[in-house]
């Protein structure tokens, strides 16, 4: 039986798992809770059930994302920048620039042959991150996942002059009570996020093709606003949330195969799922 590999990406908002052999056999996406260790066990067990595998079938496990340190059974921790680059390169080999819009940060990553050649990140200010969209969606009484399709019905994007999430929220509420339509306001906040993200990523030399990952990639209105700023099309992978976890699994596969080519097996963490439970 060929070996299997798991990648687990614990983001600030969502946790993702990918299990792969030669191809992806299972993936899981769930919200990140406050207790990463318990969660890491839970999601990997779910993914194993989905893949009809047991924990012992996993030859190597790599953790990534902001909570990657809290996965005791992971054999290696790798930054999400590296993992996004690997995951995207595997899915879309022509991509040179990645825009990642996550729950609490946004990033730009330049890649060449699957290797990271530069990156920029904003995790200090909520503007330009998923958090901004979440807060505004909330005050407009619109589900986050509906923002994209709602914005497509806008006749004109409302101008949101505030950058700061706190001030933009007030501005949106004022404009709403002033009679502006929800669709135009949503289109306006997509413009606002796109402006911030473009300013960030533009610090790198943006080269096509450009791919978008993270939760922001699921918002068609935001993707369109970004395409408008960038001036060319942006590729959205089939499941934009799991590219980091996929990249982590791929790192695991590479490590394993490198050792295997010398007739060796890589050192493991020594932690099983049961042992990890004792920590929680």
């Amino acid at each position: 039986m060929s070996p299997y590999f798991a990648g687990i990406d614990i983001g600030s908002t969502m946790t993702k798992v990918v299990i792969m052999g030669d191809e992806i056999v299972a993936s899981i996406i769930g919200p990140t809770g406050p207790e990463h260790r318990k969660l890491a066990n839970k999601v990997i067990e779910e993914a194993l059930i989905k893949a009809a595998l047991s924990f012992e079938d996993l030859a190597y496990i790599v953790a990534t994302g902001y909570g990657r340190i809290n996965v005791p059974f992971a054999d290696r921790q790798v930054t999400e920048i590296t993992c996004h680059a690997k995951g995207i390169h595997h899915l879309l080999p022509k991509v040179k620039t990645i825009v990642d819009i996550g729950g609490q940060d946004s990033k730009g990553i330049k890649i060449s042959n699957g290797k990271v050649t530069g990156f920029v990140m904003n995790d200090k200010c909520a503007a330009g991150t998923g958090r901004f969209l979440e807060i505004i969606a909330d005050s407009l009484g619109v589900p986050l996942v509906k923002l994209g399709e709602i914005s497509l019905t806008a006749d004109k994007a409302a101008e949101i002059s505030s950058t700061c999430t706190v001030f933009a929220e007030h501005e949106v509420i004022n404009k709403l009570s002033g009679g502006e339509s929800v669709a135009n306001l949503v289109a306006g906040i997509h413009e606002s996020v796109a402006t911030r993200v473009y300013a960030l990523v533009n610090k790198l030399k943006i080269e096509p093709e450009v791919a978008i990952t993270g939760g922001g990639a699921k918002n068609i209105g935001l993707v369109k606003a970004l395409e408008h700023k960038f001036g060319f099309p942006i590729v959205v992978p089939p499941e934009p949330l799991i590219t980091g976890a996929l990249g982590a699994a791929l790192v695991g596969k590479e490590v394993y195969e490198k050792y295997a080519s010398e007739g060796l097996v890589p050192t493991r963490s020594g932690h099983g799922l049961e042992e990890a439970r004792l920590f929680s």
Partner: protein, 260 residues
């Protein structure tokens, strides 16, 4: 002897100061709400009534602040920046740098030796260094914004915040509360985060001592302490820091009748 009126309609609070010549006789502070025209009249009336005066006793009125244009009974209007400068220079002639922490905006103003404005910078892009930040935090801790300062001074182990973004600091504070951090330690950490944000403004106007803190934020003693630690110097705070610009406006009103 003449009574003059200074009014500062801010984004959060409206302030009125009645002066007899250059001396403060009474003042009033009220939340601005949504009707600036109305609040300007109300807060001025309140200050006047306190010393048994009416609008007819006022010789000259100067309005300043975010809603200055709405004060229909003012004889003249000015920016709050220039009124802050006038007010502070009168109170503390040695001051070269003024930090104003208002409800929505914070500013740093650099004065020359004669109290004239040499430079200023406004933070209108980010809630991080403004009163809005404190209000957000007060809300999640279920306390009054006025209680933040004193409680933060009792901190024994201030929490380190990674950002001064009002949105991210709020979620960070919630996580720290969940981990059992004491409210005093959280507040001390937040005052520190806010101070570091404010210092970036101060540096950009080329800081020089003495330094004064004005606005509602100056009432937060924990913030004053955090700013003092950042600047490694004592920061001057007026007895009523919130009325500095309104007082400056009243001083300008008096100068204007002197010049007539």
């Amino acid at each position: 002897m003449a009574f003059v009126l200074g009014i500062d309609v801010g984004s959060g609070y409206s302030k009125a100061v009645v002066c007899e010549d250059r001396s403060i006789r009474s003042f009033a502070v009220m939340p601005s709400g949504g009707d600036y025209k109305e609040i300007a009249r109300t807060v001025a009336t309140k200050a006047l009534l306190e010393i048994g005066l009416s609008f007819n006793d006022v010789v000259y009125t100067v309005a300043a602040g975010y809603g200055a244009g709405m004060v229909d009974f003012a004889d003249h209007s000015l920016t709050d920046i220039s009124c802050h400068a006038t007010g502070i220079h009168h109170l503390f002639p040695s001051v070269k740098t003024v930090i104003d922490v208002g409800a929505q905006f914070s500013r740093a103003i650099r004065l020359d030796n004669d109290g004239r404005i040499a430079n200023f910078i406004l933070n209108e892009k980010c809630a991080g260094g403004s009163g809005k930040f404190l209000q957000t935090i007060a809300r999640i801790l279920h306390m009054n914004v006025n209680e933040i300062g004193d409680l933060s001074l009792t901190a024994t182990n201030p929490v380190e915040f990674t950002t001064a973004c009002a949105v991210f600091a709020e979620s960070e504070a919630v996580s720290r509360i969940a981990e059992g951090a004491a409210p005093a330690d959280i507040l001390a950490g937040l005052n520190k985060a806010m101070a570091s944000k404010i210092i970036t403004l101060v540096t950009r106007v080329s800081y020089a001592p003495d330094c004064a803190l004005t606005g509602g934020g100056a009432k937060n003693r924990g913030l004053v302490k955090a700013i003092q630690e950042e600047l490694s110097t004592t920061v001057l705070v007026a007895d009523e820091p919130q009325i500095t610009a309104a007082f400056g406006a009243a001083l300008v009103a008096f100068e204007r009748i002197q010049a007539r």
